[in-house]
Each structure stands twice: as C-alpha cells, then as structure tokens.
C-alpha cells in the first residue's frame, strides 16, 4: 500500500506554526518531515507531539537514566516494561512503580490525584500483578498560601476516593509543606503488586495477524494533550484554562478492569497488555508494537465512543481513563470478549499486528495516519542538554538564628505541619483492605505480610528537597539512604528502588545540572546499597513564572522480610528497655526543620557510603536476631522529636529519660539537627551485650542514652522535661488545626 494519509475536511493546516503550538520545536518538526518524506497530516502532527513530548519520550532524561543500576539477582524485569519486577521467593514477584501527577493535581486536585492513583494501578495490573498497596508522596505550599487547604483537601480526597473504591490499601506516604511548592504542588503515586511467578504479563506485541482488543471505558474528549501541553510545559497564568486536559476517574470501572484483566491473563490468551495512559490509544499501540518490532493497524470506526463525532485526532490523543489495550492470541478473541462481558466491560477488536513496522490508522474508509512505529518510539529525539551549576549560588540571606529554649523549640517543632502527625491524611485512606497490613501508617515503614508464606514486604517513600536544594547530589544520596534506613528499621532488607524525579525546566542548564547530579546521587547510593532501580518516572517543567521547585527526587523503596515475625515498629515496647543511639555522623542544622523555623542552617555534612551500608546491615542483623524492641529513624525535627515519636505508642504513651549532650556538638544541632543517619533503638536489658557485639567495629557511633519509662514523661538532659501527652496533643493537632483554619 503506497497511499499517503489524507487531510480531513475542515482540519487545520499543518505548518511550522501549528507544530510550535503543539509544543514541538522547529528542529523536531523538520525531523518529522524528513522521517516521513512529507508533511504530516494534522492527526499525525498530534500523534508526534504527544509521543515526542518530554512526558512520553524522556528526551531530556533518557541518556542520564541509563546510568542507574538496574541489575541484580532478584530482578526479573526493569527498564522497558510497564513496571519493575523482583523475584521475592516462594514463587512470588513484587511489581512496583512510582509516577507523578503533579500538573493535573494542581489544576484539578481531586481528579488529578485520583487519576494519578488510577494510572499507576493500571501499570501494575498490566504486568499481571494484583495491586496490593499504594503509597504517595505529596508536596504542598505553606499554609500561609490560601490555596494550600483547597489543594490538600482535594488531593487527599482524590487519593482516598479512588484508592478506597478500588480496594487497594493506601499504607503510607509523606506530606510536606513549603513555600517553594506554592505554585507547583507534587503528587507522586506508588503502587506495589504481587504476581505469581509465570503469570508475569508482557507489553511486547508478538505474532503477525494477532488481533488488538480495546477494553474498558469508552473514549471521550477528556485528557487530550495532558501529556504534551500540561505535563511537558511550565505553568503560567493560562494553566487554569488547561483544566479540560485533566481526566476524570471512574474507580468502579477500574475495579472491574483489575479483576477482568487478571482473569484474562490467567487464560493465556493475552499476548501483550498495556494501559492507555498518557497519549492513550496512540502510545499504548505504538509502544507495544515497538517492543515487538512489528507494525500495527487500527480501525477507529470500532473504538467505543462516549459521544459521537470524535475526530481521529481526538480519539488517538484522548486520555480517557480506565482503558486497556490487549494483543490477543488469534482465534481466542471471543473467549476474552465473553470474559470481559462477565464483568460488564466491553471488549472490542480494533485492529491487528502487521509485519511492516508501520503504525497505520484508518477511519471511515480513509487512511488518517501512517508512521513508522520506530519513529514514534525508539527514534524519538534524545537530547544531551547542557548542564551547569548555577553561576551565583543563592546568597545566605536568612535572618540571624534565634535559639529558643530547647523545651520550647521542641514544642514548636512538634507543631510544625512537616513534623506533626499525618493522621488527618491517612485516616481518610483504607489502609487495611486485602488483610495484609501488619504495620499500618504512622511508623517508619508500612509492612505487608504475604499470605501463605512467612515473608513480608516493607514499603517506604522519601524525599528531601531542602537538602537537595543545598546540594542536589548529596540530597539524592541522603534521600535514598533515608528510605533504606526506614525499611531496615522495620527489619526489611532493601531490594528495589523506584524513583520519581521532579525538577524544573530541563532547558535551563542549572535545572539540568540539578537533575544530572540527582541521578548521580541515586546511582551512587543504589550501588552502595546493592539495590537496583527497577522503574521510575521523570517529571520536568515543575516551575511557574520561571521559578522552579527545589530539586525533588522521590525515592520509593521495597524491602523484604524473610520472616514477618522479625518486623519492628518505631514505638517503644517495654518500660526498662535501654535506649540506644546509633549514627554515622554528627547531626547538622543545615536543611533541617529547625533551620526552617529558627535559622542556624550552615553546611551539609559529607556522607560516608561505607558507614551507611554498615548501619543498614547492623539494623538487619539486630532485627533478624530479634534483639531489639523498636527502631526509629531520626528524620524531620531531629533527635528530640524522634524520641517523642517513639513514646507515642498506638496503645498508649510511654516515657523516656535520656542524656544526649555530647562535648563538641552544638546543642541545637545535637537535639534538633538532621542528616546524621541516626537511629533510635530500644533494647531489652538482657540483649544489650549482644547488640554491642554486633555494632562493634562497624565504624558507627553507638551510645546508650537512657531508658524507656512507664511514666509518660520525656526527659532529655536537664533542660527538657515534658509530659508525653502534651507533646502528643500538639503533634496530633498540628495538621487539623491548620486545616480548620486556625493556623
């Protein structure tokens, strides 16, 4: 067939101006013309604009992401499929990924966040894995910004509204408030699935002549250009008008899709399966064909439509939710269609695989697009964007520090929305459905048992934008290490990483530099931990009116417990237990919550990756030998806050009396500093000698600092003596009182 696709009546003319309006550069437009040997049709231009968008093509990041280690003895699938998969033993695979939905959530918080959850779930069950847990990492502006309450309420409502209704527990996450996110919030959603070995589903098309099935919701006009215009451009005053590019979620249909797709995969009639996510029908069909080095033909007259008269352009670019594309085994279409009907879902044959490597689309008897598959996928541009550190590092213009009395500083920190309890948030999420959640939200990691085995998986998600703002390389390392420590505190060995890299405009060299240094940091930390990065997502253009967010690489990490009985929470267990402090370096006020409140900043400490690895190994040994009652990573707010948190047991408060003053360490830094990779352990007295043996010679600072008390008082040195109940009330109210508008 040597016929060129036709321009449709009434379609806009395709020229450079039109291409620029689609977010393509002049150079890219010329490349398209050369590749096709002609000017693309309007439909084809739309298709290129989404497939070559930053969001879909990773054109600025691809070359750097290749540096991340993604191999290891447990890795079953890493780059190239919908999500990463690890073999966790006993015939089970853990499948997981994190993804951003930042811009949609800023424009329409409820639906933006809801469809972020929906999209990541589809990536997981497209792999043949049942989604078993969600996490999220959220960044909002400060409460001084009037829009923050609205965005927080909408995002949390959307995550809950979707997650609760599909029956996937939301078991953890993080929430931060900072002025730097006033005009560009972050919503990163993670999902973990479990698959039986052998059930893993590929997204690689195979078998010329195999039919292509469209399943799920009908196609409407929502989400058109979500990937190209919304996700791949900065925000400005017109962003509000992009609200129609945000999709609307239908979790009920998604729940049916999960069950139907998992059942369909079991039949063996599914050759390849992919979510119609960003760039919908276009990306799913082109990517599956590209992986299999095949061609694909689609007949748009067969696409189920929500409303009549959608143009080919709209059908191909729609991001309507809850749709999947299946390559089926020829001759078994009927079986699959009936299976989907059982779940009240439509499944329709809309095309087939071909051998000529072309992506060919017809509509009402016309050929409307004919593009080599490779041009849409692997041959999309990849840029080596220039990068350079900022010429003039931001001057330290902070006011001189004021150091309140330690007890008062502690009260203020407990009241900070970044430190205070996130119960207001996670109480709105079903965290227990599926009956696996053995450590619930509120501790360092969530832990899920795997039914029918002794094993369990721990999950943590972390980010550290303030540290990254000071040093994007050290910040990325610190973030990765923090996630690993959170897992190790629960007793789980880190086994895999998925990263969501949130940055500003990559066309600016200083932003590109932050990104490159961030990837370097994750690489070095992942190598030091022997933990592969098996999936991830990049979100650029997080800036408004030229002001970028601080570099925010979000690290979600999965950990494995061979024995669920070895799990530990952060909460002190028994009065009389010895409180031990383990750390790799000396805490500093730089990038701390204390600095944000009172000043005092300064410089970040260097990180010794050997010691960091040693700390993780020590924690794992202590957990495996059941020598400790609890373990808590010292994070926002520093040591004093962490000690208080250890006292807030789910079944009631305990107390603690500790001596932490050390010669040579600045007092506020010692009490409230961060960045020292510190862990608080509680150890039954009879196990202390054994613990000391295990810690000795590892290069870690080890100190017995005190004792767990039955009386619920927190006593730190001579200057902090506070009732735990008082601190807990402040901590529990930090968020609610601001949301109710009294902050």
């Amino acid at each position: 067939m040597n016929v060129n696709p036709v321009a449709l009546p009434g379609e806009p003319r395709v020229d450079l101006e039109q291409a620029l309006a689609h977010g393509l550069s002049e150079q890219e437009f010329r490349l398209i013309e050369r590749r096709l040997g002609r000017t693309p049709t309007f439909t084809e231009l739309g298709v290129f604009s989404v497939m070559w968008s930053e969001h879909c093509s990773y054109k600025s990041s691809r070359r750097h992401l290749a540096k991340l280690p993604n191999k290891g003895p447990m890795v079953v699938s890493a780059a190239g499929e919908n999500a990463g998969a690890l073999d966790i033993g006993d015939g089970w695979l853990a499948v997981f990924k994190i993804e951003s939905h930042n811009h949609p959530s800023f424009v329409e918080p409820y639906q933006g966040a809801a469809t972020g959850v929906g999209g990541i779930l589809r990536d997981i069950f497209a792999m043949g894995a049942r989604p078993v847990a969600s996490l999220n990492s959220l960044k909002f502006g400060s409460f001084a910004n009037a829009r923050t309450r609205y965005l927080l309420g909408g995002v949390v409502g959307g995550i809950g509204g979707y997650g609760n209704c599909v029956g996937v527990p939301t078991v953890g996450g993080e929430v931060m408030f900072d002025d730097a996110y006033n005009d560009n919030i972050l919503v990163n959603a993670f999902c973990l699935g479990l698959a039986r070995q052998g059930d893993l589903q590929s997204a690689r098309a195979k078998g010329v002549g195999n039919p292509v099935l469209y399943v799920g919701s009908a196609t409407g006009r929502d989400g058109i250009h979500g990937a190209s215009l919304l996700a791949s451009a900065e925000f400005d005053e017109s962003s509000e008008s992009k609200r129609p590019t945000v999709q609307v979620g239908d979790p009920f249909t998604q729940k049916l899709l999960i069950e139907a797709c998992l059942e369909a995969i079991k039949t063996g009639a599914v050759v390849a399966l992919q979510d119609m996510g960003a760039a919908g029908l276009t990306s799913s069909s082109a990517e599956m064909a590209a992986r299999g080095k095949l061609g694909i033909e689609l007949d748009l007259d067969r696409i189920p439509l929500r409303e009549p008269n959608l143009t080919p352009y709209e059908m191909l670019l729609s991001e309507s939710q809850e749709r999947m594309l299946i390559v089926a085994e020829k001759g078994r279409e009927r079986e699959l269609i009936e299976l989907f009907e059982k779940w009240d879902l439509q499944a329709v044959a809309v095309g087939q695989l071909t051998d000529d490597g072309h992506w060919r689309v017809s509509w009402r008897g016309h050929l409307v697009a004919d593009i080599p598959v490779a041009a849409l996928a692997d041959e999309a541009p990849a840029y080596e964007r220039p990068f350079a550190p900022p010429a003039n590092p931001a001057p330290d213009c902070g006011a001189p520090p004021r150091h309140p009395a330690p007890a008062q500083a502690l009260r203020c920190l407990m009241d900070s929305p970044n430190v205070g309890s996130k119960r207001w948030v996670y109480r709105q999420y079903d965290s227990i459905v599926q009956s696996n959640t053995v450590i619930e939200p509120g501790s360092d990691s969530a832990v899920l048992r795997i039914k029918g085995t002794r094993r369990a998986l721990a999950l943590a998600v972390d980010s550290n934008p303030r540290t990254c703002a000071l040093d994007p390389y050290l910040g990325a390392i610190a973030t990765t290490l923090e996630a690993a420590r959170n897992l190790a505190c629960a007793g789980a060995r880190p086994i895999g990483i998925t990263d969501c890299l949130n940055y500003g405009n990559p066309e600016r060299p200083e932003v590109m530099w932050q990104f490159v240094r961030g990837v370097d940091g994750i690489r070095d930390a992942a190598q030091a931990l022997d933990t592969p990065v098996v999936s991830g997502n990049v979100s650029f253009y997080n800036e408004t009116r030229g002001r970028a967010i601080p570099p925010t690489p979000t690290i979600a990490m999965v950990g494995l417990l061979e024995d669920v009985e070895c799990r530990r929470t952060q909460f002190f267990q028994r009065p009389g237990d010895v409180i031990v402090l383990l750390r790799t370096s000396i805490p500093a006020l730089a990038a701390s919550e204390y600095d944000a409140l009172f000043g005092g900043g300064g410089r970040l400490n260097a990180i010794d990756l050997k010691k960091e690895r040693a700390l993780i190994e020590v924690l794992l040994t202590l957990a495996a030998q059941k020598l400790i009652g609890s373990a808590h990573d010292v994070a926002d707010g520093g040591l004093a806050v962490a000690l208080a948190e250890c006292c807030f047991g789910p079944m009631g408060n305990l107390g603690a009396a500790v001596e932490v003053d050390v010669n040579g360490i600045d007092r506020p830094a010692n009490l409230f500093g961060e960045g020292a990779s510190s862990v608080i352990l509680s150890v039954p007295p009879e196990a202390v000698a054994k613990v000391e043996q295990i810690v000795a010679g590892r290069g870690l600072e080890y100190r017995r600092i005190g004792t767990v008390l039955k009386e619920p008082w927190l006593r730190i040195d001579s200057d902090i003596q506070l009732e735990v109940a008082e601190l807990r009330t402040i901590y529990e109210q930090a968020l609610p009182r601001r949301i109710q508008g009294h902050g």
Partner: protein, 229 residues
Amino acid sequence: MKWGVVTFPGSLDDRDALFALRDVLEQDAELLWHKDRDLRNADCVVLPGGFSYGDYLRCGAMARFSPVMESVVDFARRGGLVLGICNGFQILCEAHLLPGALTRNRSLSFICERIIVKVENSQTPFTCAADSGELLRLPIKHGEGRYVAPADELRRMEDRGQILLRYVDQNGEATDSANPNGSTHCIAGVANDTFNVFGLMPHPEHAVEPMLGGDDGIRIFRSIIQSLG
C-alpha cells in the same frame, strides 16, 4: 454449616471475608456471584464491604436490585441468617431488611481507624458468643456510616434490643467523642425485629488475627457458628 459471601461488582472485602472464614476460622465458605440467584445452600449469607456499583448513587441503592438479592430477601424472610458488613449493612437498609439508613459521616470524610464497640444484646445469633456489655476493638472504614432512623422506630428498636453494637469509649460509655461518624445513639450495628438479619459498620472480618491488629471480630463469627451448631 456453610457460608456464602456475595460478590457484587465493586465489592472489596469479599475476599477478606472469605479469607477470614476459610483460612482463619476453617469454615466451609464460598463466594456467591451477584448475577446468580442460587445461594448454594448457605446457612449464613454475608454481604461484604466495598463500593458496590461504585456507590455513585446512594450507597447500596444499586446492589439491592441484583438478582442475588431477590434470593437473599427470600432467604431472610424464611429466617435465614444474613450478615451485612459496612456496604453490606447499607445494602440491607436499602433492601428494607433492616430499618434506618446510613448517611454521610459527620466529618464529611472517609474514616479508617480502630474503634471500640459495646455488645448491647448478647441474646442474638450474631452476638451469643460475647457477653452483654463486652467491649470489642474493631476497625471501621467508611464515608457513609452515620446511622439514622425515625424517632419512633428507634424507640421500638431500643425497646426490643435491636441495637446490638454501640460505639463507646474505653470505659464503655457511649460518649460523643467515642462516636466516629455521628450515628444516632452511637449505633454501630442493628438487627431486624426477628434477629436473623444483622448489619454493622465495623469490619469483624478485618479483626480475626492478632498480627493484623486484633481478633475481636471472631466473636461475631463464633456467635453465628454457635447459634447454628
């Protein structure tokens, strides 16, 4: 005895109820499909939690019209035991097998947490393995759990002992602060006037293993087993 757990489109805790019954309590239990009218000789039918039909309309309003519900209504009228948990409770109210209705939580948001309920009447097939006045720690997770009923109906229910569970504090007092969703009279679970249909907002099937935060939910299932044994 035999258990049937109904799967509606959008049911979520159906597998959890099945797991609790089969794997933890070692009962004979199976899933019943919403399009089937056959209850497969179940002695007790469980309507599980979830968002049947997405609950886009009033919760439970669509599920009530499922083919399986015709059989469940028949079964209940003949005295069969029916247990509705969360969305199942909402469906039972919509199907008029239980009085009253479940409305939006007073906080206007979804709530997932552990609460305490007091067993108010232990002379029923659903509570006979507990003591009257016994406190149970159970999880709730719902957005529409505020129980309401007309005042005269409520009075009759109170008089007849149809209020089986009430939200209480650690001392067993039905205080306002112990009431998570604003339910009238702190009501967490009610039976019909013949005591063979029981609906409750807390999830006993999520409280059957200490590892998962407690096993007080076993009391409810044991009661049913005991009453049929």
